[in-house]
Symmetry: C2
Subunit: 349 residues, 2 copies
C-alpha cells in the first residue's frame, strides 16, 4: 500500500493561526473538512484555542455564552475534590459535568496547489447556539449541486450532537439545526441521492449497550433522518478493535462507494481503514481493507497534543483516481498524503 | 394532588401471563402502552421472560437469533472472571458485552371497563430483526387518524434503539424501521401534526457529555426525524435529579400539551412529573408540576423485581378531563390509577 505524505507536513500548524482574541492561544489546527470551490482547494480547519493564562495549577474550560456572545472561563484547582477525572488532556470532569479544555471554531484556508494555504485571519464559523457552547469540531463538507453541506460536532453541556450548515460561497452560512441528537459524531453525507434518498454515515456513542460502530441513515430532505442501520462494527484483534467512525465523504467508484474511515484500538491509536459499500444500497458492505491504509508513523503523528493519531475529515480526488487525504495529526496539526483509488481497492478483501 | 390507585392493583401480574414457550417463566408484565380500539381499552404489555432453568449459580441471558427464529441461551458462571458487573438484577456485563437477564415481547390485553383485561395467550409482537435480539420493551401507542403507531425500545447487542411499528387492527403490524439510533428510548409521538410537522419526545442516553434529558424532534413523515432540541433536563435536588424521560402520549389541553413524564433520582426512585408544552411550539416548556404527581408508595410499587418504581407508558383520558394512568410497578406488574387533568394543572408552576 503506497501512501506518500507531503514532505511539507505539517502544512498547517497552530502557530500559523491568528487566535480569535488577544488573550487566547491556538493549540490545535486539525481535522479539516475539504472541498473544491471555484477551482481552489478549501480546508475548513478546526481551530482549538484556550486562554493564555491557563496554568499548570488550574484546570480551565472556555465556554461560549450565547447571552453575552463571548466566552466564560471556568477555572478549577487540580486538587478540587469534585474533579473526578483529569487524565485526558482534552477533557476533565467536575462533579457530574464534563468540560473541554479548549474551545474550537472553524477557519477557512484556501489553496490553489493543495499544499500552500492562505488562512483566514478571523474565525469563519464560531459558536452561536446553546448546542455549541463547547465549540464546533471536526467538520465534513459534502458538495451536492451548488450547495455545500457542512456536518460538524456541536458540543455543549447538553451533549455531543451533529449540526448541519449550508453554504454556497463559504461566506454566508445557514444553520439547518441539529440533525442527530446526542451522542452522535463523525457524520458524513453522501455526495448524491441514491434511489431518491440522501444518505449519511453516523457514529452513535451509546452509554450502556453497543459497540462504537458506523451506522447509516437516510433522508428525504437532509434535515430529517431515519431508517438507521449498523453497518461497520469494530473488529476484535485488528487495528480498529475499539471504535470505528466515518472520516471522508464516500467516493463513487465503479466497484462501490469507497469510504475511508478511522479505526482505533484499545490504546487509542487511530489508523485509517477503507470499506466498499454497495452503489445501490450503501447499507451493504462489500469489502474491507485487509490492513490499515495509513497508521501513525511520522514524528508529527506519533507525538503532539494527543499523540498516535491520524484522523482525516476529508479528501480530494480527481478523475484519474488520485486522492489527497487531509488529516489531523496528533489532534494538533493538519497534514496531507496522496494515494490512488486503485491502491486502496487492491487492498480490499 | 389526588391520584387514586385501583383497589384491584396490580391488575396484571406475571402469573396472569402464559409464557411464550414451555420452558420459560414470565417474570414481568409491565410498562404497557395504551390505546382505545373499537371502544375497548387496549394494553400492549411488555412481557419479560427467562428460561425456567435459570439458577442462582448461573447468569443467563436469552438472546433471539434471527437466523433460527428462536432464542439462544447464553450462560455464564457467576465466578467467571470476565463477568464485570452483575449488581443490577436486570443486566450483567461479560467482557465488553452487556446482556439482559430476560427477553421481552409485547402482549395484547383488552378490556371494556379498563380494569379487567383479557390477555392474549400468545405473544402479539415478538423479536424479529437483528435490532431486537434482546427484546422489545416499553411500547407507547399513538393514534393518528385510523393508524396506531407503536414506538418501542429495540434492544440488541448493537444498542438500545427506538423502532416504529404501524397497525390498524392490532393483528397486522408493519415495522417502519429504526427511527432513532442508539442510545435513545422513551420515545412518544404527539397525536396530531403541529404546523404540518409530526413531533416526538425522545430520551437520548449520551456516554460522555450531557444529562439524561427529554429532547424533542420533528418529522415530515414519521420515519425521518430532525431539528432535535433539549427541552426538559434533570433538576438538581428534586425527585427528577438524575434522569427524566417522556412517559405518556401528550394530552392536548387548552393551556398546552400536558406531558406526564417520569423522573428518577440518584437512588433510582422513579416518580411521575408533569410538564406543559406550548400548543403551537411544543419545544417551549410553559410550566412544571411543583411536586411529583405520583411516587412509589404502595407495597407493589416499593417492592418487586426492581423496586421503588412507578413507570407509565400510557394513559387514557376522556372528554370530561378524567385520566387513567396505566403504569408499571417495580418492573414487575401493571397497575392503574385515576386523576384529572385539572388536578395536574393545579400543580403547575
Amino acid at each position: 500500500m503506497k501512501v506518500e505524505r507531503f514532505f511539507q507536513n505539517p502544512i498547517i500548524r497552530p502557530s500559523d493561526i491568528t487566535a480569535s482574541q488577544n488573550d487566547y492561544e491556538v493549540i490545535g489546527a486539525f481535522n479539516a473538512g475539504t472541498a473544491i470551490y471555484q477551482g481552489n482547494i478549501i480546508l475548513l480547519v478546526r481551530v482549538a484555542e484556550r486562554p493564555i493564562n491557563a496554568t499548570d495549577e488550574l484546570l480551565v474550560a472556555p465556554v461560549y455564552n450565547p447571552k453575552t456572545n463571548s466566552n466564560d472561563i471556568y477555572k478549577f484547582t487540580k486538587d478540587d475534590p469534585n474533579i473526578l477525572d483529569a487524565s485526558d488532556p482534552r477533557i476533565f470532569t467536575h462533579s457530574e459535568q464534563t468540560y473541554i479544555t479548549s474551545i474550537s471554531h472553524l477557519r477557512l484556508a484556501t489553496s490553489s496547489d493543495g499544499i500552500n494555504f492562505t488562512i483566514s485571519d478571523t474565525p469563519t464559523i464560531s459558536p452561536q447556539t446553546k448546542y455549541e457552547t463547547f465549540g464546533l469540531e471536526d467538520p465534513r463538507i459534502t458538495q451536492i449541486g451548488e450547495d455545500y453541506f457542512i456536518t460538524y460536532k456541536a458540543v455543549s453541556e447538553l451533549g455531543i450532537c451533529t449540526g448541519l450548515i449550508k453554504t454556497q460561497d463559504f461566506i454566508n452560512f445557514e444553520r439547518m439545526g441539529i440533525i442527530f441528537c446526542p451522542e452522535n459524531l463523525d457524520v458524513v453525507l453522501f455526495p448524491e441521492m441514491i434511489s431518491s434518498k440522501y444518505y449519511a454515515l453516523t457514529r452513535p456513542v451509546p452509554k450502556n449497550i453497543g459497540p462504537l460502530s458506523i451506522w447509516i441513515a437516510s433522508s428525504s430532505n437532509l434535515r430529517e433522518w431515519g431508517n438507521h442501520k449498523a453497518i461497520i462494527t469494530p473488529r476484535p484483534g485488528k487495528y480498529d478493535s475499539a471504535r470505528v467512525g466515518a472520516s471522508c465523504v464516500p467516493i463513487k467508484t465503479k466497484r462501490g462507494w469507497l469510504e475511508i474511515y478511522h479505526g482505533a484500538d484499545e490504546s487509542h491509536r487511530y489508523c485509517l481503514g477503507a470499506a466498499l459499500l454497495d452503489l445501490q444500497d450503501p447499507s451493504k458492505v462489500l469489502a474491507y481493507s485487509k490492513e490499515p491504509i495509513m497508521k501513525p508513523e511520522a514524528e508529527y503523528e506519533l507525538n503532539g497534543f494527543f499523540g498516535n493519531v491520524v484522523f482525516p475529515c476529508g479528501c480530494i480526488n480527481d478523475s484519474d483516481g488520485n486522492i489527497t487525504i487531509y488529516y489531523g495529526a496528533s489532534d494538533e496539526t493538519t497534514c496531507g498524503a496522496t494515494t490512488t483509488i486503485g491502491e486502496i481497492l487492491d487492498l480490499m478483501e
